[in-house]
Symmetry: C2
Subunit: 293 residues, 2 copies
Amino acid sequence: MVGQLGVIGCGLMGGSFALALREAGQVRRIVGHSRARATAERARALGVIDEVADSPDEAARGSDLVLLAVPVAATGAVLATLRDALDPQALCMDVGSTKRDVVEAAAAALGDRVRQFVPAHPIAGAERAGVDHAHAGLYRDRLVVLTPDAGHDPARVQRARSLWERVGARVQQMDPNSHDRVFAVVSHLPHLLAYAFYDSIASRPDGAALLDLAGPGFRDFTRIAAGEPAMWRDILLANREEVLRQAAAFRVALDSLEALLAKGDAAALHARLATIAQGRGGWHMRGAGNAGD
Amino acid sequence: MVGQLGVIGCGLMGGSFALALREAGQVRRIVGHSRARATAERARALGVIDEVADSPDEAARGSDLVLLAVPVAATGAVLATLRDALDPQALCMDVGSTKRDVVEAAAAALGDRVRQFVPAHPIAGAERAGVDHAHAGLYRDRLVVLTPDAGHDPARVQRARSLWERVGARVQQMDPNSHDRVFAVVSHLPHLLAYAFYDSIASRPDGAALLDLAGPGFRDFTRIAAGEPAMWRDILLANREEVLRQAAAFRVALDSLEALLAKGDAAALHARLATIAQGRGGWHMRGAGNAGD
């Protein structure tokens, strides 16, 4: 049981964690801070948090669990602010989508208190950001990757694991570098591609007319292009070497399909598409029970 | 009211049209043909069609509405087969995703009977192909583009429009070339990109491990990479000049985002992502009532 949860960043991720922990009956009191006070007020009005804190350190003070849900580039600065307010027994976690930069920033900001920090990345999201779209089920059946290294405290890693499991997630551990390589491929690059694709249409003079005719395939393919810009700016920059490397690998695959098209090689194109479609048709998101996932 | 509907190609599209027309109380009897007899038998077992026809011309004979739902490259050959079986009063439609090639193939195959043909493209789809996933709601609130030209019969175009409206669709007319240019951008290219992206991961030695860690963003971005290979081979080949032209435009947009990443230009990257995310966040598929769309 968490006596007090301090949420820093009361958006979709932070708000959903608060709601989920409360629904699981695992928290007594929730204090929340957001850079824009109106956001934290809104979170309180929605019953996501019990009390608004004026600063990150005020949210941390007296909390036995502190959840950082801010764009990854802000991690270091926020941790430095709350360092001295952190209860010596407290556990502090983030929810950032990159981990090498977060681990480094936490080490620099927290010093020997880095033992209290457990880097976490829940693989969860929704079409709409913001606390208004937060819900207790966001992490249910979702994967959460923890990326502690030698400096982190095994007991707190275990506690982090158990908390994420309480809100319905499956937990996996990975080192921060492997994490960033993996998620450059399966998450960061597709976001970059979706942004670029949407941009290539929207910026055309006839863009509005084209968008008016787009259907369900387009809708799903571009859903992630609505991703929160500050969050994705930080993720893409923090992991830019891997992302650019993976973008190059994607271009090779695209070159190869384009070459089959240009040659009009129907048999080879069919063979390639069949392999891909069969693979994707048989793929299911881990933990997701229903075929629609 | 349609006395007899002949469906040629009892898959997701053809099967869903049959179910929808029946649900609307607009058809008495449905005869279906599929190249693989087992497919038509399955459609009958599911109650999608009433009777299995051994050939396209058998499905056409006695039908006052013939719906062709086959890969676009097969359009000409199938129409040539059923031409002489077509009742002089009948209306014949396709559901192909490219229209210039279909209009040309229909003119060549049907001769003066091309007046009986109305080229149609419903903008609808589902993650899973095949008659088992057919449902009466597939076309509800979806756009259907009709692309008749001077050779087609205005009365039949009107009848086609009214039939699609009966199954819940909105109908728009466009010339075949404009249609193919538009859908190269909003549909064919994203399919090519999704295929290439999935391929770039699945073909890696560590592909399976990566796919195991992918989450909901990946799931939605790659949904269309499960698209039926024969159907998409034909679409991409039929419209390859436009698709390749649009792929080049997409690469320019990607180049530009990659350049901002490589430079580490956080402000410019944020500005660009914010514009895109705001655009996509405010986009709604036409006809789709709910925000989740």
